[in-house]
Symmetry: C2
Subunit: 128 residues, 2 copies
């Protein structure tokens, strides 16, 4: 995929210049959204956490092909972006639970539409 920095909220348009009467709306927050959920495993993790709390190991088991490093990293970013809440229990052995936040749940309608569109897309391409 593209190189999308997690913390990059940079504008892709130079608003200072008269930008040839292009649609300034193009710089609407879709780009922000894509930046936030565009990570390779983000939507997958988010999906698993829909209305459900999971431990680190459970997530790992449910997403077998993700590495520990990536799981940790993506979770940290999601946490920083306030899409996931992380709760550490002071036990031994350690126990950490991940839950999706309100903000994340608000994403669901959009994800559902994307999911539906993805199906259409796959249908349109399955002939190849």
């Amino acid at each position: 995929m593209a190189k999308i920095k997690a913390s990059s909220h940079e504008k892709n348009f130079d608003e200072s210049e008269h930008n040839a009467q292009g649609r300034d709306m193009a710089n609407c927050p879709v780009t922000t959204a894509i930046n936030v959920i565009g990570g390779k495993w983000k939507v997958i993790i988010l999906y698993q956490l829909r209305g459900q709390t999971l431990r680190f190991g459970e997530l790992k088991r449910v997403i077998p092909k993700i590495t520990q490093k990536m799981l940790t990293q993506q979770l940290r970013e999601l946490e920083k972006d306030k899409l996931v809440k992380r709760v550490v229990y002071a036990e031994v052995p350690p126990k950490v639970e991940y839950t999706s936040t309100e903000l994340a749940e608000k994403l669901n309608p959009a994800l559902d539409l994307l999911c539906a569109w993805g199906s259409e897309y796959e249908k349109a391409h399955q002939s190849e």
Copy 2:
């Protein structure tokens, strides 16, 4: 951003293994959708082409910070993914027009929701 191959429709789940009763739906086509529109400039280009045909140079002018190389590359991928139609006129000087396809227009509702969510996200983070 994440590394998302344009042509990668690989499964991120190992369906052969009993995957710890994880939600198989997690591997729903959201991931496909993200792969297709996750490119750094894709949604921006798509937005500019909403219900409107533009020439290469017009796109370049409207998205000043994109390089020619990236514009060409992203357009080629969108074309391959059947989201954009490319029409070349046999004139001199050359003239090439880009139009969004039906499939691309079907994405709009999802993009609108993402846009709305992006605004919420920005609000929730502006305090920082």
